[in-house]
Protein backbone atom coordinates (compact mmCIF):
# COMPACT_ATOMS: atom_id res chain seq x y z
CA UNK A 1 0.00 0.00 0.00
CA UNK A 2 1.36 3.40 -0.98
CA UNK A 3 0.37 6.93 -0.07
CA UNK A 4 0.99 10.29 -1.70
CA UNK A 5 0.52 13.19 0.64
CA UNK A 6 1.19 16.82 1.28
CA UNK A 7 2.04 18.46 4.60
CA UNK A 8 0.22 21.67 5.49
CA UNK A 9 1.08 24.22 8.11
CA UNK A 10 -2.50 25.11 9.06
CA UNK A 11 -6.03 23.72 8.96
CA UNK A 12 -7.22 26.24 6.35
CA UNK A 13 -4.71 25.04 3.74
CA UNK A 14 -5.44 21.42 4.74
CA UNK A 15 -9.13 22.10 4.06
CA UNK A 16 -8.24 23.51 0.63
CA UNK A 17 -6.26 20.35 -0.09
CA UNK A 18 -9.14 18.11 0.99
CA UNK A 19 -11.54 20.07 -1.21
CA UNK A 20 -9.13 19.80 -4.15
CA UNK A 21 -8.76 16.05 -3.65
CA UNK A 22 -12.52 15.56 -3.44
CA UNK A 23 -12.89 17.32 -6.81
CA UNK A 24 -9.97 15.31 -8.18
CA UNK A 25 -11.46 11.99 -7.04
CA UNK A 26 -14.13 12.10 -9.72
CA UNK A 27 -11.82 13.52 -12.39
CA UNK A 28 -8.87 11.20 -11.71
CA UNK A 29 -10.99 8.11 -10.96
CA UNK A 30 -10.24 7.23 -7.36
CA UNK A 31 -12.58 6.77 -4.40
CA UNK A 32 -13.02 9.72 -2.03
CA UNK A 33 -12.60 7.15 0.79
CA UNK A 34 -8.92 6.95 -0.22
CA UNK A 35 -8.35 10.51 0.97
CA UNK A 36 -6.47 10.47 4.26
CA UNK A 37 -6.07 13.30 6.78
CA UNK A 38 -3.79 13.01 9.80
CA UNK A 39 -2.96 15.64 12.42
CA UNK A 40 -1.24 15.82 15.78
CA UNK A 41 -4.16 17.56 17.42
CA UNK A 42 -7.91 17.98 16.74
CA UNK A 43 -9.11 20.92 14.65
CA UNK A 44 -12.57 22.35 15.03
CA UNK A 45 -14.61 24.48 12.69
CA UNK A 46 -13.49 22.87 9.44
CA UNK A 47 -15.55 20.71 7.14
CA UNK A 48 -12.99 17.89 7.11
CA UNK A 49 -13.29 17.54 10.91
CA UNK A 50 -16.89 18.51 11.61
CA UNK A 51 -18.25 16.06 9.02
CA UNK A 52 -17.09 13.28 11.37
CA UNK A 53 -19.28 14.47 14.24
CA UNK A 54 -21.79 11.92 15.53
CA UNK A 55 -24.15 11.63 18.44
CA UNK A 56 -24.21 7.82 18.53
CA UNK A 57 -21.59 7.41 21.32
CA UNK A 58 -23.99 9.15 23.72
CA UNK A 59 -26.80 6.74 22.83
CA UNK A 60 -24.50 3.76 23.24
CA UNK A 61 -23.37 5.06 26.64
CA UNK A 62 -26.99 5.29 27.78
CA UNK A 63 -27.64 1.77 26.51
CA UNK A 64 -24.54 0.54 28.35
CA UNK A 65 -25.82 2.20 31.51
CA UNK A 66 -29.16 0.43 31.15
CA UNK A 67 -27.47 -2.93 30.62
CA UNK A 68 -25.17 -2.25 33.61
CA UNK A 69 -28.15 -1.36 35.80
CA UNK A 70 -30.04 -4.49 34.75
CA UNK A 71 -26.96 -6.59 35.52
CA UNK A 72 -26.70 -4.96 38.95
CA UNK A 73 -30.38 -5.59 39.62
CA UNK A 74 -30.12 -9.24 38.63
CA UNK A 75 -26.87 -9.75 40.55
CA UNK A 76 -28.31 -8.40 43.79
CA UNK A 77 -31.86 -9.72 43.69
CA UNK A 78 -31.18 -13.17 42.22
CA UNK A 79 -28.24 -13.84 44.52
CA UNK A 80 -30.12 -12.64 47.60
CA UNK A 81 -32.97 -14.96 46.74
CA UNK A 82 -30.64 -17.86 45.89
CA UNK A 83 -28.51 -17.41 49.03
CA UNK A 84 -30.97 -16.06 51.60
CA UNK A 85 -29.42 -14.91 54.88
CA UNK A 86 -31.00 -13.87 58.17
CA UNK A 87 -31.82 -10.20 57.80
CA UNK A 88 -33.21 -9.35 61.23
CA UNK A 89 -36.49 -8.13 59.84
CA UNK A 90 -34.98 -6.26 56.90
CA UNK A 91 -36.37 -7.03 53.47
CA UNK A 92 -34.63 -9.92 51.72
CA UNK A 93 -33.94 -7.68 48.72
CA UNK A 94 -33.77 -4.15 50.18
CA UNK A 95 -34.07 -1.45 47.52
CA UNK A 96 -31.96 1.09 49.49
CA UNK A 97 -28.82 -1.01 49.66
CA UNK A 98 -29.29 -2.83 46.35
CA UNK A 99 -29.74 0.59 44.78
CA UNK A 100 -26.15 1.46 45.63
CA UNK A 101 -24.81 -1.61 43.82
CA UNK A 102 -27.15 -0.99 40.88
CA UNK A 103 -25.98 2.65 40.71
CA UNK A 104 -22.32 1.60 40.52
CA UNK A 105 -23.14 -0.99 37.86
CA UNK A 106 -25.00 1.64 35.82
CA UNK A 107 -21.88 3.80 35.84
CA UNK A 108 -19.60 0.86 35.07
CA UNK A 109 -21.83 -0.09 32.13
CA UNK A 110 -21.64 3.45 30.73
CA UNK A 111 -17.84 3.58 31.17
CA UNK A 112 -17.13 0.23 29.53
CA UNK A 113 -19.53 0.91 26.66
CA UNK A 114 -17.93 4.30 26.02
CA UNK A 115 -14.53 2.63 25.85
CA UNK A 116 -15.70 -0.08 23.46
CA UNK A 117 -17.59 2.39 21.25
CA UNK A 118 -14.52 4.60 21.04
CA UNK A 119 -12.28 1.71 20.04
CA UNK A 120 -14.72 0.49 17.38
CA UNK A 121 -15.56 3.98 16.12
CA UNK A 122 -11.92 5.04 15.90
CA UNK A 123 -10.88 1.74 14.29
CA UNK A 124 -8.53 0.80 17.15
CA UNK A 125 -6.45 -1.22 17.54
CA UNK A 126 -5.05 -1.07 14.03
CA UNK A 127 -1.44 -1.99 13.52
CA UNK A 128 -1.50 -2.26 9.75
CA UNK A 129 -1.24 0.56 7.29
CA UNK A 130 -0.65 3.35 9.79
CA UNK A 131 0.24 6.45 7.81
CA UNK A 132 2.32 8.96 9.72
CA UNK A 133 5.13 11.47 9.28
CA UNK A 134 7.57 13.01 11.77
CA UNK A 135 6.39 16.47 10.65
CA UNK A 136 2.93 15.81 12.14
CA UNK A 137 4.46 16.07 15.59
CA UNK A 138 5.80 19.48 14.59
CA UNK A 139 2.29 20.75 13.97
CA UNK A 140 1.83 19.93 10.26
CA UNK A 141 -1.34 18.35 8.87
CA UNK A 142 -1.02 15.45 6.47
CA UNK A 143 -3.50 15.30 3.58
CA UNK A 144 -3.11 12.69 0.89
CA UNK A 145 -4.41 9.74 -1.05
CA UNK A 146 -3.84 6.09 -0.24
CA UNK A 147 -3.01 3.94 -3.27
CA UNK A 148 -3.45 6.77 -5.81
CA UNK A 149 -3.89 5.78 -9.49
CA UNK A 150 -0.40 5.44 -11.03
CA UNK A 151 -1.23 7.57 -14.07
CA UNK A 152 -2.51 10.52 -12.02
CA UNK A 153 0.32 10.76 -9.50
CA UNK A 154 1.86 13.85 -11.10
CA UNK A 155 -1.48 15.62 -11.31
CA UNK A 156 -2.28 14.81 -7.67
CA UNK A 157 1.09 16.14 -6.58
CA UNK A 158 0.44 19.35 -8.52
CA UNK A 159 -2.96 19.82 -6.85
CA UNK A 160 -1.53 19.12 -3.39
CA UNK A 161 1.14 21.78 -3.97
CA UNK A 162 -1.42 24.19 -5.37
CA UNK A 163 -3.44 23.90 -2.15
CA UNK A 164 -0.40 25.12 -0.22
CA UNK A 165 1.56 22.01 0.71
CA UNK A 166 4.84 22.81 2.41
CA UNK A 167 6.11 19.42 1.24
CA UNK A 168 4.76 16.58 -0.87
CA UNK A 169 5.93 13.08 -0.03
CA UNK A 170 5.32 9.49 -0.93
CA UNK A 171 5.40 6.61 1.51
CA UNK A 172 5.06 2.86 1.43
CA UNK A 173 2.88 1.58 4.30
Amino acid sequence: MKALYGLYVDAASAQRAVDALRVASSELKFDAQQIVIVSGEPHEGYDFTDSQATSSPYRWAVLGAVVGGATGYLLTTLSQKSYPIFTGGMSLTPAWTNGIIIYEMIMLGAILTTLVVLLIGAGLPNFKGVITDPEIGMGKILVGVVDPPENSRVELERRLRLAGAAQVKQSIL
Binding site: V36, G40, E41, L108, A122, G137
Partner: protein, 448 residues
Protein backbone atom coordinates in the same frame (compact mmCIF):
# COMPACT_ATOMS: atom_id res chain seq x y z
CA UNK B 1 10.85 32.58 23.75
CA UNK B 2 8.86 31.15 20.84
CA UNK B 3 6.39 28.41 21.72
CA UNK B 4 5.63 26.18 18.79
CA UNK B 5 4.15 22.72 18.35
CA UNK B 6 7.68 21.49 17.70
CA UNK B 7 8.98 22.95 20.93
CA UNK B 8 6.05 21.54 22.94
CA UNK B 9 6.74 18.08 21.55
CA UNK B 10 10.47 18.31 22.27
CA UNK B 11 10.01 19.67 25.80
CA UNK B 12 7.39 17.17 26.86
CA UNK B 13 9.05 14.12 25.32
CA UNK B 14 12.48 15.01 26.75
CA UNK B 15 11.84 13.51 30.25
CA UNK B 16 11.07 10.16 28.62
CA UNK B 17 14.48 9.98 26.99
CA UNK B 18 16.70 11.87 29.45
CA UNK B 19 16.48 11.95 33.25
CA UNK B 20 18.42 14.03 35.74
CA UNK B 21 20.41 12.67 38.70
CA UNK B 22 17.78 14.23 40.99
CA UNK B 23 15.14 12.06 39.34
CA UNK B 24 17.07 8.84 39.99
CA UNK B 25 17.77 9.86 43.60
CA UNK B 26 14.03 10.36 44.10
CA UNK B 27 13.35 6.94 42.53
CA UNK B 28 15.94 5.32 44.84
CA UNK B 29 14.38 6.93 47.94
CA UNK B 30 10.87 5.86 46.95
CA UNK B 31 12.06 2.32 46.18
CA UNK B 32 13.76 2.09 49.61
CA UNK B 33 10.53 3.05 51.33
CA UNK B 34 8.57 0.55 49.29
CA UNK B 35 11.05 -2.26 49.99
CA UNK B 36 10.83 -1.51 53.73
CA UNK B 37 7.07 -1.96 53.42
CA UNK B 38 7.48 -5.22 51.51
CA UNK B 39 9.76 -6.52 54.28
CA UNK B 40 7.24 -5.47 56.96
CA UNK B 41 4.42 -7.14 55.06
CA UNK B 42 6.45 -10.35 54.69
CA UNK B 43 7.07 -10.26 58.46
CA UNK B 44 3.32 -9.81 59.00
CA UNK B 45 2.45 -12.71 56.69
CA UNK B 46 4.91 -14.99 58.50
CA UNK B 47 3.87 -14.04 62.05
CA UNK B 48 0.20 -13.22 61.51
CA UNK B 49 -1.75 -10.01 61.87
CA UNK B 50 -1.07 -10.00 65.64
CA UNK B 51 2.08 -8.03 64.88
CA UNK B 52 -0.17 -5.02 64.35
CA UNK B 53 -1.31 -2.95 67.33
CA UNK B 54 -5.01 -3.54 66.61
CA UNK B 55 -7.00 -5.27 69.30
CA UNK B 56 -10.52 -5.49 70.69
CA UNK B 57 -12.23 -2.99 70.41
CA UNK B 58 -9.89 -1.17 67.98
CA UNK B 59 -10.15 -3.54 65.03
CA UNK B 60 -9.52 -0.78 62.54
CA UNK B 61 -6.68 1.69 62.93
CA UNK B 62 -3.74 2.60 60.68
CA UNK B 63 -4.91 0.38 57.86
CA UNK B 64 -8.38 1.90 57.52
CA UNK B 65 -6.87 5.37 58.11
CA UNK B 66 -4.53 4.77 55.19
CA UNK B 67 -7.34 3.29 53.11
CA UNK B 68 -9.60 6.32 53.59
CA UNK B 69 -6.65 8.70 53.16
CA UNK B 70 -5.54 7.23 49.81
CA UNK B 71 -9.07 6.91 48.45
CA UNK B 72 -9.46 10.56 49.44
CA UNK B 73 -6.25 11.57 47.67
CA UNK B 74 -7.61 9.89 44.55
CA UNK B 75 -10.20 12.64 44.30
CA UNK B 76 -7.46 14.98 43.15
CA UNK B 77 -7.30 13.76 39.69
CA UNK B 78 -10.27 12.44 37.96
CA UNK B 79 -12.80 14.65 39.71
CA UNK B 80 -10.85 17.88 39.29
CA UNK B 81 -9.85 17.00 35.76
CA UNK B 82 -13.43 16.08 34.82
CA UNK B 83 -14.88 19.26 36.30
CA UNK B 84 -12.28 21.42 34.57
CA UNK B 85 -12.92 19.62 31.28
CA UNK B 86 -16.68 20.05 31.57
CA UNK B 87 -16.35 23.74 32.41
CA UNK B 88 -13.82 24.11 29.57
CA UNK B 89 -11.28 25.73 31.87
CA UNK B 90 -8.38 26.21 29.47
CA UNK B 91 -5.77 26.50 32.25
CA UNK B 92 -6.41 22.83 33.02
CA UNK B 93 -4.36 21.55 30.08
CA UNK B 94 -0.93 21.21 31.74
CA UNK B 95 -2.33 19.72 34.95
CA UNK B 96 -4.96 17.16 33.96
CA UNK B 97 -2.63 14.23 33.39
CA UNK B 98 -0.64 14.93 36.57
CA UNK B 99 -3.98 14.83 38.39
CA UNK B 100 -5.43 11.77 36.65
CA UNK B 101 -2.29 9.73 37.36
CA UNK B 102 -2.60 10.53 41.08
CA UNK B 103 -6.12 9.13 41.02
CA UNK B 104 -5.22 5.81 39.42
CA UNK B 105 -2.23 5.14 41.68
CA UNK B 106 -3.86 6.24 44.92
CA UNK B 107 -6.99 4.16 44.27
CA UNK B 108 -4.70 1.23 43.55
CA UNK B 109 -2.85 1.74 46.84
CA UNK B 110 -6.13 2.26 48.67
CA UNK B 111 -7.45 -1.02 47.25
CA UNK B 112 -4.32 -2.94 48.34
CA UNK B 113 -4.65 -1.91 52.00
CA UNK B 114 -7.78 -4.00 52.81
CA UNK B 115 -5.96 -6.97 51.27
CA UNK B 116 -3.19 -6.46 53.84
CA UNK B 117 -5.80 -6.14 56.59
CA UNK B 118 -7.54 -9.43 55.87
CA UNK B 119 -4.37 -11.16 57.05
CA UNK B 120 -4.54 -13.98 54.53
CA UNK B 121 -4.65 -12.12 51.20
CA UNK B 122 -4.39 -15.34 49.22
CA UNK B 123 -7.99 -16.04 50.25
CA UNK B 124 -9.23 -12.66 48.98
CA UNK B 125 -11.05 -14.42 46.13
CA UNK B 126 -13.57 -15.61 48.71
CA UNK B 127 -15.06 -12.13 48.54
CA UNK B 128 -15.85 -12.46 44.84
CA UNK B 129 -19.51 -13.41 44.32
CA UNK B 130 -19.64 -16.71 42.48
CA UNK B 131 -21.54 -19.93 43.31
CA UNK B 132 -19.35 -22.02 45.60
CA UNK B 133 -19.42 -25.06 47.85
CA UNK B 134 -18.43 -23.06 50.95
CA UNK B 135 -21.89 -21.44 51.07
CA UNK B 136 -20.13 -18.10 51.38
CA UNK B 137 -21.79 -15.22 49.63
CA UNK B 138 -21.21 -11.46 49.83
CA UNK B 139 -23.73 -9.58 51.89
CA UNK B 140 -24.91 -6.81 49.58
CA UNK B 141 -26.33 -4.99 52.62
CA UNK B 142 -22.80 -4.44 53.92
CA UNK B 143 -21.06 -1.12 53.16
CA UNK B 144 -17.87 -3.12 52.60
CA UNK B 145 -19.55 -4.82 49.60
CA UNK B 146 -20.58 -1.36 48.36
CA UNK B 147 -16.93 -0.33 48.69
CA UNK B 148 -15.90 -3.20 46.43
CA UNK B 149 -18.28 -2.13 43.68
CA UNK B 150 -17.60 1.58 44.06
CA UNK B 151 -13.82 1.27 44.09
CA UNK B 152 -13.79 -1.22 41.20
CA UNK B 153 -15.95 1.14 39.14
CA UNK B 154 -13.83 4.15 40.09
CA UNK B 155 -10.57 2.37 39.31
CA UNK B 156 -11.91 1.21 35.93
CA UNK B 157 -13.26 4.67 35.12
CA UNK B 158 -10.15 6.51 36.29
CA UNK B 159 -7.82 4.22 34.38
CA UNK B 160 -9.92 4.68 31.24
CA UNK B 161 -10.06 8.43 31.85
CA UNK B 162 -6.27 8.51 32.13
CA UNK B 163 -5.57 6.16 29.23
CA UNK B 164 -7.87 7.60 26.54
CA UNK B 165 -6.26 11.04 26.19
CA UNK B 166 -2.84 9.41 26.49
CA UNK B 167 -3.30 7.34 23.31
CA UNK B 168 -2.35 10.22 20.94
CA UNK B 169 0.68 10.98 23.11
CA UNK B 170 1.74 7.34 23.02
CA UNK B 171 1.59 7.69 19.23
CA UNK B 172 3.79 10.79 19.46
CA UNK B 173 6.35 8.84 21.51
CA UNK B 174 6.10 5.96 19.03
CA UNK B 175 6.98 8.32 16.19
CA UNK B 176 9.90 9.81 18.12
CA UNK B 177 11.32 6.56 19.52
CA UNK B 178 13.45 3.83 17.98
CA UNK B 179 14.08 0.13 18.55
CA UNK B 180 12.37 -1.79 21.32
CA UNK B 181 10.83 1.34 22.81
CA UNK B 182 9.11 2.07 19.50
CA UNK B 183 7.56 -1.41 19.53
CA UNK B 184 6.18 -0.91 23.06
CA UNK B 185 4.63 2.45 22.21
CA UNK B 186 3.25 1.04 18.98
CA UNK B 187 1.21 -1.38 21.07
CA UNK B 188 0.28 1.22 23.69
CA UNK B 189 -0.91 3.67 21.03
CA UNK B 190 -3.10 0.93 19.49
CA UNK B 191 -2.05 2.10 16.05
CA UNK B 192 -3.39 5.64 16.54
CA UNK B 193 -2.99 7.87 13.48
CA UNK B 194 -4.79 11.09 14.28
CA UNK B 195 -7.49 11.09 11.60
CA UNK B 196 -10.38 13.54 12.07
CA UNK B 197 -12.66 10.57 12.82
CA UNK B 198 -10.35 9.35 15.59
CA UNK B 199 -10.05 12.82 17.12
CA UNK B 200 -13.81 13.30 17.02
CA UNK B 201 -14.47 9.94 18.66
CA UNK B 202 -11.81 10.54 21.31
CA UNK B 203 -13.16 13.97 22.28
CA UNK B 204 -16.72 12.64 22.46
CA UNK B 205 -15.59 9.72 24.61
CA UNK B 206 -13.69 12.08 26.92
CA UNK B 207 -16.79 14.23 27.29
CA UNK B 208 -18.94 11.22 28.20
CA UNK B 209 -16.29 9.98 30.62
CA UNK B 210 -16.08 13.41 32.27
CA UNK B 211 -19.86 13.41 32.77
CA UNK B 212 -19.91 9.87 34.17
CA UNK B 213 -16.82 10.05 36.38
CA UNK B 214 -17.98 13.01 38.52
CA UNK B 215 -20.92 11.18 40.14
CA UNK B 216 -18.78 8.04 40.43
CA UNK B 217 -16.07 9.98 42.30
CA UNK B 218 -18.64 11.53 44.63
CA UNK B 219 -20.23 8.13 45.26
CA UNK B 220 -16.91 6.46 46.05
CA UNK B 221 -16.03 8.67 48.98
CA UNK B 222 -19.61 8.84 50.13
CA UNK B 223 -19.64 5.05 50.29
CA UNK B 224 -16.29 5.07 52.12
CA UNK B 225 -17.92 7.40 54.66
CA UNK B 226 -20.83 4.97 54.98
CA UNK B 227 -18.38 2.29 56.17
CA UNK B 228 -18.45 4.42 59.31
CA UNK B 229 -21.84 6.12 59.22
CA UNK B 230 -23.77 2.83 58.95
CA UNK B 231 -22.13 1.59 62.15
CA UNK B 232 -23.56 2.33 65.61
CA UNK B 233 -20.33 3.75 67.00
CA UNK B 234 -20.33 7.13 68.79
CA UNK B 235 -19.50 10.04 66.44
CA UNK B 236 -19.78 7.81 63.37
CA UNK B 237 -23.53 7.43 62.94
CA UNK B 238 -23.87 10.83 61.27
CA UNK B 239 -25.86 11.96 58.26
CA UNK B 240 -23.27 14.54 57.18
CA UNK B 241 -20.45 12.00 56.91
CA UNK B 242 -21.01 11.64 53.14
CA UNK B 243 -20.43 15.29 52.17
CA UNK B 244 -17.89 15.67 55.01
CA UNK B 245 -15.77 12.88 53.55
CA UNK B 246 -16.17 14.07 49.97
CA UNK B 247 -15.07 17.58 50.99
CA UNK B 248 -12.07 16.18 52.87
CA UNK B 249 -11.20 13.97 49.91
CA UNK B 250 -11.20 16.83 47.42
CA UNK B 251 -9.27 18.95 49.93
CA UNK B 252 -6.49 16.38 50.40
CA UNK B 253 -6.57 15.54 46.69
CA UNK B 254 -5.88 19.11 45.60
CA UNK B 255 -3.06 19.33 48.15
CA UNK B 256 -1.50 16.14 46.79
CA UNK B 257 -1.84 17.44 43.25
CA UNK B 258 -0.05 20.70 44.08
CA UNK B 259 2.78 18.79 45.78
CA UNK B 260 3.12 16.41 42.83
CA UNK B 261 3.16 19.31 40.36
CA UNK B 262 5.82 21.17 42.37
CA UNK B 263 7.94 18.01 42.45
CA UNK B 264 7.55 17.27 38.73
CA UNK B 265 8.23 20.86 37.82
CA UNK B 266 11.69 20.63 39.35
CA UNK B 267 12.56 17.02 38.54
CA UNK B 268 11.45 17.09 34.89
CA UNK B 269 12.25 20.78 34.23
CA UNK B 270 8.69 21.69 33.29
CA UNK B 271 8.94 25.28 34.53
CA UNK B 272 7.66 26.67 31.21
CA UNK B 273 4.51 24.56 31.42
CA UNK B 274 3.59 24.31 35.10
CA UNK B 275 3.55 28.04 35.70
CA UNK B 276 2.76 30.14 38.78
CA UNK B 277 -0.79 30.74 37.48
CA UNK B 278 -1.58 27.03 37.82
CA UNK B 279 -0.43 26.95 41.43
CA UNK B 280 -2.32 30.16 42.13
CA UNK B 281 -5.57 28.80 40.68
CA UNK B 282 -5.22 25.49 42.50
CA UNK B 283 -4.30 27.46 45.63
CA UNK B 284 -7.63 29.28 45.41
CA UNK B 285 -9.43 25.94 45.14
CA UNK B 286 -7.46 24.65 48.13
CA UNK B 287 -8.43 27.74 50.13
CA UNK B 288 -12.11 27.17 49.32
CA UNK B 289 -11.85 23.54 50.40
CA UNK B 290 -10.03 24.52 53.60
CA UNK B 291 -12.92 26.80 54.57
CA UNK B 292 -15.45 24.11 53.66
CA UNK B 293 -13.52 21.52 55.67
CA UNK B 294 -13.51 23.80 58.71
CA UNK B 295 -17.25 24.38 58.32
CA UNK B 296 -17.98 20.64 58.22
CA UNK B 297 -15.59 19.87 61.08
CA UNK B 298 -17.23 22.54 63.23
CA UNK B 299 -20.78 21.48 62.30
CA UNK B 300 -20.03 17.82 63.01
CA UNK B 301 -18.64 18.54 66.47
CA UNK B 302 -21.18 21.24 67.34
CA UNK B 303 -24.02 18.77 66.77
CA UNK B 304 -22.35 16.19 69.02
CA UNK B 305 -21.62 18.77 71.74
CA UNK B 306 -25.14 20.21 71.67
CA UNK B 307 -26.71 16.74 71.82
CA UNK B 308 -24.60 16.03 74.92
CA UNK B 309 -25.05 12.28 74.59
CA UNK B 310 -22.61 10.68 77.09
CA UNK B 311 -21.10 8.11 74.65
CA UNK B 312 -20.51 10.81 72.02
CA UNK B 313 -19.16 13.27 74.59
CA UNK B 314 -16.64 10.65 75.74
CA UNK B 315 -15.19 10.53 72.22
CA UNK B 316 -15.57 14.30 71.84
CA UNK B 317 -13.51 15.13 74.95
CA UNK B 318 -10.92 12.46 74.15
CA UNK B 319 -10.29 14.26 70.87
CA UNK B 320 -10.48 17.84 72.06
CA UNK B 321 -8.93 17.81 75.53
CA UNK B 322 -7.50 14.45 76.48
CA UNK B 323 -5.41 11.72 74.87
CA UNK B 324 -5.86 12.79 71.25
CA UNK B 325 -5.88 16.56 71.82
CA UNK B 326 -2.32 17.10 70.50
CA UNK B 327 -3.24 15.30 67.29
CA UNK B 328 -6.59 17.11 67.00
CA UNK B 329 -5.11 20.58 67.37
CA UNK B 330 -2.22 19.71 65.05
CA UNK B 331 -4.88 18.72 62.51
CA UNK B 332 -6.66 22.08 62.91
CA UNK B 333 -3.38 23.96 62.56
CA UNK B 334 -2.36 21.93 59.48
CA UNK B 335 -5.73 22.08 57.73
CA UNK B 336 -6.84 25.60 58.61
CA UNK B 337 -4.54 27.85 60.64
CA UNK B 338 -1.50 27.49 58.35
CA UNK B 339 -3.03 27.13 54.86
CA UNK B 340 -5.74 29.82 55.09
CA UNK B 341 -3.43 32.85 55.58
CA UNK B 342 -0.94 31.53 53.03
CA UNK B 343 -3.61 30.92 50.42
CA UNK B 344 -5.73 33.98 51.18
CA UNK B 345 -2.90 36.52 50.78
CA UNK B 346 -2.09 36.85 47.08
CA UNK B 347 1.56 37.69 47.76
CA UNK B 348 1.99 34.36 49.60
CA UNK B 349 0.07 32.30 47.06
CA UNK B 350 3.26 31.46 45.19
CA UNK B 351 4.55 28.05 44.11
CA UNK B 352 6.49 27.70 47.37
CA UNK B 353 3.57 29.02 49.42
CA UNK B 354 1.00 26.68 47.92
CA UNK B 355 3.43 23.74 48.23
CA UNK B 356 3.96 24.49 51.95
CA UNK B 357 0.21 24.83 52.52
CA UNK B 358 -0.38 21.57 50.62
CA UNK B 359 2.22 19.68 52.65
CA UNK B 360 0.54 20.73 55.90
CA UNK B 361 -2.88 19.77 54.48
CA UNK B 362 -1.67 16.27 53.54
CA UNK B 363 -0.42 15.77 57.11
CA UNK B 364 -3.59 17.30 58.58
CA UNK B 365 -5.90 15.17 56.48
CA UNK B 366 -4.10 11.97 57.43
CA UNK B 367 -4.55 12.98 61.08
CA UNK B 368 -8.23 13.71 60.43
CA UNK B 369 -8.77 10.19 59.11
CA UNK B 370 -6.93 8.75 62.13
CA UNK B 371 -8.99 10.87 64.55
CA UNK B 372 -12.25 9.70 62.97
CA UNK B 373 -11.27 6.03 63.33
CA UNK B 374 -9.35 5.45 66.54
CA UNK B 375 -10.88 7.63 69.34
CA UNK B 376 -14.39 6.39 68.43
CA UNK B 377 -13.37 2.72 68.40
CA UNK B 378 -11.54 3.12 71.71
CA UNK B 379 -14.69 4.54 73.34
CA UNK B 380 -17.75 2.66 72.16
CA UNK B 381 -21.13 2.79 73.91
CA UNK B 382 -20.34 0.42 76.78
CA UNK B 383 -17.46 1.67 78.95
CA UNK B 384 -16.42 -1.87 79.97
CA UNK B 385 -15.40 -2.48 76.35
CA UNK B 386 -13.17 0.60 76.10
CA UNK B 387 -9.59 0.01 75.08
CA UNK B 388 -6.44 1.67 73.83
CA UNK B 389 -4.45 1.44 70.65
CA UNK B 390 -0.77 1.98 69.90
CA UNK B 391 0.58 1.38 66.39
CA UNK B 392 3.53 -0.99 66.03
CA UNK B 393 6.59 -0.59 63.82
CA UNK B 394 4.95 -2.86 61.23
CA UNK B 395 2.01 -0.49 60.81
CA UNK B 396 4.29 2.57 60.80
CA UNK B 397 6.43 0.98 58.10
CA UNK B 398 3.45 -0.07 55.98
CA UNK B 399 2.05 3.46 56.22
CA UNK B 400 5.38 5.02 55.19
CA UNK B 401 5.79 2.51 52.38
CA UNK B 402 2.38 3.45 50.96
CA UNK B 403 3.82 6.95 50.42
CA UNK B 404 6.93 5.36 48.90
CA UNK B 405 4.79 3.26 46.58
CA UNK B 406 2.83 6.30 45.47
CA UNK B 407 6.02 8.28 44.79
CA UNK B 408 7.63 5.38 42.93
CA UNK B 409 4.61 4.66 40.73
CA UNK B 410 4.28 8.35 39.93
CA UNK B 411 7.94 8.80 39.11
CA UNK B 412 8.06 5.69 36.92
CA UNK B 413 4.88 6.79 35.18
CA UNK B 414 6.53 10.12 34.36
CA UNK B 415 9.39 8.17 32.73
CA UNK B 416 7.04 6.30 30.38
CA UNK B 417 4.25 8.80 29.70
CA UNK B 418 4.43 12.54 28.94
CA UNK B 419 3.20 14.11 32.19
CA UNK B 420 1.60 16.96 30.28
CA UNK B 421 -0.72 16.14 27.43
CA UNK B 422 1.14 17.09 24.24
CA UNK B 423 -1.88 17.24 21.97
CA UNK B 424 -3.92 19.27 24.45
CA UNK B 425 -1.10 21.79 24.73
CA UNK B 426 -1.11 22.07 20.93
CA UNK B 427 -4.85 22.72 21.03
CA UNK B 428 -3.94 25.55 23.40
CA UNK B 429 -1.74 27.00 20.66
CA UNK B 430 -4.70 26.96 18.27
CA UNK B 431 -6.62 29.10 20.76
CA UNK B 432 -4.07 31.81 19.99
CA UNK B 433 -5.03 31.79 16.33
CA UNK B 434 -2.77 28.90 15.41
CA UNK B 435 0.31 31.04 15.46
CA UNK B 436 3.25 30.67 17.83
CA UNK B 437 2.85 32.74 20.95
CA UNK B 438 5.52 34.52 22.90
CA UNK B 439 5.97 33.43 26.49
CA UNK B 440 5.81 36.41 28.81
CA UNK B 441 7.07 36.39 32.37
CA UNK B 442 3.86 37.83 33.74
CA UNK B 443 1.27 35.90 31.79
CA UNK B 444 -0.13 32.41 31.55
CA UNK B 445 0.93 31.80 27.98
CA UNK B 446 1.55 28.08 28.08
CA UNK B 447 -1.07 27.88 30.75
CA UNK B 448 -3.63 27.74 28.00
Amino acid sequence: MQTTAEQIEQDLLRPLFHSSAKYWIAVALATSLLLAGVAAFAYQLYNGIGVWGINSPVFWAFDITNFVFWIGISHAGTLISAILRLTNATWRRPITRCAEAITVFSVLIGAIIPLCHIGRPWLAFWMIPYPNQRHIWPNFRSPLAWDFFAISTYLTGSTTFLYLPTIPDFAAVRDAATGFRKKIYRVLSLGWQGTPRQWQRLETAMHIMAVVIVPVAVSVHTIVSWDFAMTPVPMWHSSIFGPYFVTGAIFSGIAALILAMALLRKLLHLEEYLRPIHFENLGKLLLTMSLLWFYFTFAERLTAWYGNSPPEMAVFWESIRKQFAPLFWTMVVCNFIIPVPILAIKRLRTITGTAIASATVVVGMWLERFLIVVPALEHKFLPYSWGTYRPTWVEDTLMASSFGMMALLYLLFSKFVPMISIWEMKVGLQAHGGVPVVAAADGPVLAE
